[in-house]
Amino acid sequence: MAIQVQEQPFYGLTPAKVGIWWFLASEIMLFGGFIASFVVFRLGATGWAEAARHLNVTIGIVNTLILLTSSLTIVLALAAIQRGDEAALRRFLGLTILLGCAFLGFKVIEYTGELRAGYAPWTGTFWSFYYAMTGLHALHVLGGIVVNVVLLVTTEWRRRSPHRIEVAGLYWHFVDIVWIFLFPLLYLA
């Protein structure tokens, strides 16, 4: 076998990409554990459909739109840095962060509305699942925002390894996909 000069290639994948996908695999299991439990309880429980009607579907729709758009902006940011266009990167990354904050803002509005209406996590098992799943998801959105802000601010660090934008993007898209399943599970079905 020819002795390569550089390391043993692994399908041409960089460590960062393999690493983030393994992390996303464990996250799929975490949210998967929640969603599997929710689904089987939802099929067996009575009264959950009625409880679900108290959710604010409009905020749910708006939040879904926000996250879908933020997926667009972060992938455009990645395209920008791949073209070497710094300004476009900063603009799109900033937009992604704003959209993330908007999502959390609407979440706070939604939660306070429901709490004031008397639906707290201890009201019933549906509400326990609702608050736990959307809360955990919101924490992940917050984590993504922090990473994006760090990327936006530390120009020097970012320029040295542009694939960090790609990794942050992959995480952000994953959090968006989790919401793509949470939204119908909680609000629509």
């Binding site: 695999a25 464990s26 299991m29 689904v39 758009t69 119908p184 629509l188």
Partner: protein, 92 residues
């Protein structure tokens, strides 16, 4: 750094995502058999997830290894959900 393979048109994908969401919401108001509406809703959700994964996460350009890393946990979650069904969905 992904190579400059044929770039999927991101904005077009975004439009599809919004349309699919709208379709999902509309499906939730469908009269008639609830099961039909639910399947429609989740079909749009799966479609949106695939669009984001394939185009925005560039899964289309990745070798099979990345697909494996992503699909194995999904199957495990399915196994877990199916096993929990008899205990929590059909009991008393």
């Amino acid at each position: 750094m992904t190579t400059h393979a044929p770039r999927s048109n991101y904005v077009a994908i975004w439009v599809w995502l919004v349309l699919l969401m709208a379709a999902g919401v509309a499906a939730s108001f469908l009269p008639g058999a609830r099961a039909l509406a639910v399947t429609a809703i989740f079909a749009t959700a799966v479609a949106k997830a695939l669009l984001v994964a394939l185009h925005y996460m560039h899964l289309k350009l990745e070798p099979w290894v990345i697909y494996a890393i992503a699909l194995i946990p999904v199957t495990l979650v399915a196994i877990l959900a199916l096993t929990l069904l008899p205990d929590f969905s059909f009991h008393h």
